[in-house]
Every structure is written in structure tokens, then in C-alpha cells.
Symmetry: C2
Subunit: 350 residues, 2 copies
Amino acid sequence: MASRWAPALAVVGATGAVGSVILELLSTRRDVYGDVRLVASPRSAGRTLAVRGADVAVEALTPEVFDGADVVMFAVPGAVAAEWAPVAAARGAAVVDGSGVFRMRRDVPLVVPEVNPEAVRERPRGVVAGPGGATMAVVVALAALHRAYGLREVVVASYEAASGEGRDGADVLHAQLEKVGGDRGLGSRAGDVRGVVGDTGPFRAPLAMNVVPWAGAAADGGWTTGELGVRLETRKVLGLPDLKVSATCVRVPVVTGHSAAIHAVFDEPVDRREAQDVLARSPGVVLCDDPEFPTPADAVGTDPVWAGRVRVSPDDPRALDLFVSGDNLRVGSALNTVQIGELIAADLGA
Amino acid sequence: MASRWAPALAVVGATGAVGSVILELLSTRRDVYGDVRLVASPRSAGRTLAVRGADVAVEALTPEVFDGADVVMFAVPGAVAAEWAPVAAARGAAVVDGSGVFRMRRDVPLVVPEVNPEAVRERPRGVVAGPGGATMAVVVALAALHRAYGLREVVVASYEAASGEGRDGADVLHAQLEKVGGDRGLGSRAGDVRGVVGDTGPFRAPLAMNVVPWAGAAADGGWTTGELGVRLETRKVLGLPDLKVSATCVRVPVVTGHSAAIHAVFDEPVDRREAQDVLARSPGVVLCDDPEFPTPADAVGTDPVWAGRVRVSPDDPRALDLFVSGDNLRVGSALNTVQIGELIAADLGA
């Protein structure tokens, strides 16, 4: 018999790029919550947003806003999550954080519901984290193949969308695309795109008509935090602490939809048709291959990771190449947050 | 004492995207030719184009146009090259072909002047070929690292520009960018870019605000001819017939400038600073690293391959990741053709 009790939810960052997708998902998926509170910066407080068919006033972020909340979702920049997630957890809420700050802490489970749902139950700090968008697109497809063939090594090159940097990233790309749109001479002389696009926002170089091989901050040895994140998060989610992972993270002029070219080496030889079947049967994955292929424009607005271009290396029967696309605001972010919330709600007895 | 004789040159495809860069290069580099004849389809015949400071009338493609030509450069689609290159060679000319049709023939040398210039001398069929744009960006950087560390295995993910499909490809992308440029709502719903961009031209899917993991034609095992081309051409140019190469070739909404994320495994451990020095000292390579990085917008209009993001794998001291960008109309095409022409001219005694 189902319990009549339903946990109270608070969504912090409700007005942001990811937050608005969270509200859309809360309004369209099975409703597991009682009270839903929307929280944002004082600047956005007082606005009303639609969730589950009703208008809800946005409240300012204060410690008191967490009183009575059983589950709190954070869809905010890392610095805000680092400050406020402990406040929510200290008041007894189970926190789901989509930012990067808690992902690699030993006492914080890193959860992809299709891969390691059981990990939500052990949350000594009161916080559960989801991996970054680039990792998500990769790990959902790899998890299924790992179960079938035993994963040994992964090489990833990402094609990451502007909205991976939030609304600001998407706005900067739109503004740049407006400037380059009508100019047929652009793109054939050094520096001409740079001279036209103006503000590069969070991207360190023009993104319209360009690709930018940089995501995150500088780390040791020339790596970026985005690239090391793909390595460490993939290891943690798959429970393979010694997995060899090399990633090159590249921003492309796509508004929404992260993609990745994946080269994976397994313990066992891989049959192409069988690998396609493994992907097609995996939860959270849609196979899109022969003669179709995934693109971010197709994946945007949808929940699953689209996988295709499945190929076995002619040089190594244990090596598989594939290409995946997923909506980074959903699969890599809002959807994962909402799914983790549902797992916690079930764990709380909802 | 320099010979007074200078070979006569014909450029077939002089009015195309690559052809016009060839004319620009002929006008700015050391002049090694006597008569220069410009050739195109009958549709373009009669136009005049500037080369070496003079206006030259474009002649229609006929067998007679090759009479007296010592060197003939082909910057045309494969089908045209396949038909006409043998005609030019039969009349005694040394043919330089930039299309893909002769690259993998046993009796045709595949030449990258920075890597294997000596190969131009042996041309039993009268034809010398250059590799494709995606291969070029990769092989120039890898050749230097191979000499230093001994190359064992390469994984490539490309970020290829629209002009890799010629003027038509660039025009289609410009037309698509004009349509999406002012629409701030685009890029967040499935299919909306597809509904707006119209003609996808040679790309099989929208390219504006999207990436398209497909280049060339379908080949066995789910591979594309573009991907197998990178594998076979890299092996042939480097003289490593057993090299393990996996490539995923992806078209991005960039007008000009191919890039690639390269994961390379060597026989010897690699020191990061030393690898950067090796690249910086290599002919045809510019090192752009720490804190800068190469982008296609910087490489466009320049001759070298820009290499950066050099990183040694934390999991394997013999594995190196890097990112390269090059102007596909130059380094991958017109420049290589012109440089091969210069090598042949020298070989002919000019």
C-alpha cells in the first residue's frame, strides 16, 4: 500500500536555464512531492513561475526557506551551491546538487539513475551529486557496454553546447550568431570572426563560426577541470577507480545539446550488431544508427542519450568507436537532478 | 647556377574555393613557373582572374589545354580529376591532384611536403596526390612527434569546416546561419533547427547550431570514407602501414578551418615540455599553448597547422593528447598542392 505522505521539495535556482527545465519536468513527470517551494536570488524573488499547473511565487534564498523541506534541488553555480547546500543539509533536507562542487567528495555519492541508482541511499553529508553534462552523455552509453564487455580504456572528444555555461552562455552565442549571420565574407580571413562577434562571455574565444577547445578552469599539466572531471566522474559513477580515461573538451556553436566522440577499449572482442543491441536495450539510451546518426539538434528537448555511429576498429576487435548526443539541460542536468530527487523521495518512503 | 628554364603550369578548377586560394598562393610565394594557364568548366571559361599581378583568361577544360604544360594542378571534385588527370599525364605533364581519387593508389605517391617531400620523385602514373584536409591537420603534427617518440596508435575526433565540401558547403552554411541568426528561441526544442534551416546541402543534417557526425560516403562496418581516409592516408604518409588509427569525422558550423582532437600513444614516455618543443620546431607547425589554444578562427588564412592543448595522460606516460587547427583550404588543400608543385618544379630542374 502506497504511503500517503509526500516529501516537500525546494528548487534553488528555479529561474535559471536548468531550473526552468526542472520545473517543466516536475510538471510532466509522475508527481511525488507535497509542497513545492521555488527559490532564487533576491533579484528574482517575487516573480511567479508555473509548476505542476499552478503559479508559485519565487522566494529569496535564506536559511529559513529550507525549513520543512525534505528534498532540495540546487541548480545554481558552484559557489552558491558550496555555500547553501550545507545550510539545507544541516536543516535536515536531502540535497541534490547539479553543480560541480560536491561531485568528487568521498562522502558524496555521484549518481546517474540509469547506472548506479542504489548509491543515493548512502549520503553521509546529506548531499547527492550528479555528474557534469559531458560525463553524462558518455557514461550512460558506456555503462551498458561495460556490463557487456568490461571497460578498460576510454578516449573522449566532446562537442559541448553553449548552454553548458547556463543562460549566459546561450545568450552570448545567440548574440554572436546574430552578428555573423548576414556576413557571407566571414570565416575566410584570420581574425575576422574575432573582430565581429564582440563579447566572448564565458568562452575565452569567439564561439560563433568557431570551436573552442577549453571548458572549465586550468588544471595541472595543461588539462582543464572539465577534462579531468570527465575522467574522475566516469571512474566514480562506473565504480572503476583505475579506468584509463583521456578527454578533450571542446565548446561548439550549438545552443543546447552536448555530443561526444567516444573510443572505448574493452576486455572482450565486440560484435558491432550486438553492441548496437546492447545500446538499444539500455535504459536512458536511444540507438540512432545505420543510416541515421545522432545530432544535438535531434536530441535537444528529449530525455535519452542518443547513440550511433557504432563501429568496431579494423585494427583491434576489442575497440569500439561511437558518437552520442544528449540534451545537456536535461540528461546532463535537470533530468538527472529530478530523477535523483525521485529516488530519494522513494528512499524517504514517499 | 640556377637554370633559366621555368616549367609551364596549368591550374584546373581555378574558379573554385580551393582554386582561388591556389591563385593567391601563386601570387605571393616564390615564383617558379613560366606560363600559367587557368582552366575551369566551360561555364566559367572566358572570365579573367588575377594571378601573379596579371589578368589571365580562364580556358575551358579540353585535352588541348594541357599541351605544353609541365605541371598541372587539379582542384576539382574527384569525378572530374579521375577523368582528366590521366589525360594531362598522358600528354606528359606531372599532375598534382588534391581530390581523393588517387590518394590510395599504389602507384601514386601521397605527399605532405613537411613530412615526405622525397616521395614526389617517384610518380610512375605521372600523378602525385595530397591527403584530405582532416588527415593533413593531424599528420603534420604527428610526423614530428613520431620522429621523437615512435608512434604506435592514434585516436582522432575531427571538427571539420563546411568549406571541406567546397564553395557549395560554405554557401549552405552561410545561408543556414542567416536563417537562424536572429532567432533567440532556437536550439531548445527537438527539430526546431531542422525546421528553420532549409536546404542541408551536402551535409545530411542541419549544420548551423548543430554538429554532423558524417563526412564522405558510407563504407563497411558503419565507417565513413572520410574516417577510413584518415586511417589509410595517415599510415601511407607516415610510412607506417600497421599503425592503429581510429577516427570519428564530424562536421561543425565553421566556414573554414579544420580542427582535430588527437590522442596518440608512443613507444617512449613523453615529456610535455619536450613535446611542445618538438612541435614548436617542426616545419609547418605553430605551437599555441599555455594559456592560449588553437581555434579555427585563428588558423584561417594562415599556412601552418596550429597545435596546442598538449597534455600527457595521467594514466599512461606514453599517451599524449593535443588539439590542432589548420586552414583546410590551405594546409589541407591549396597550400599542399602548391608546395608539391614547387617540389616537382625543382625535380624537373627549374
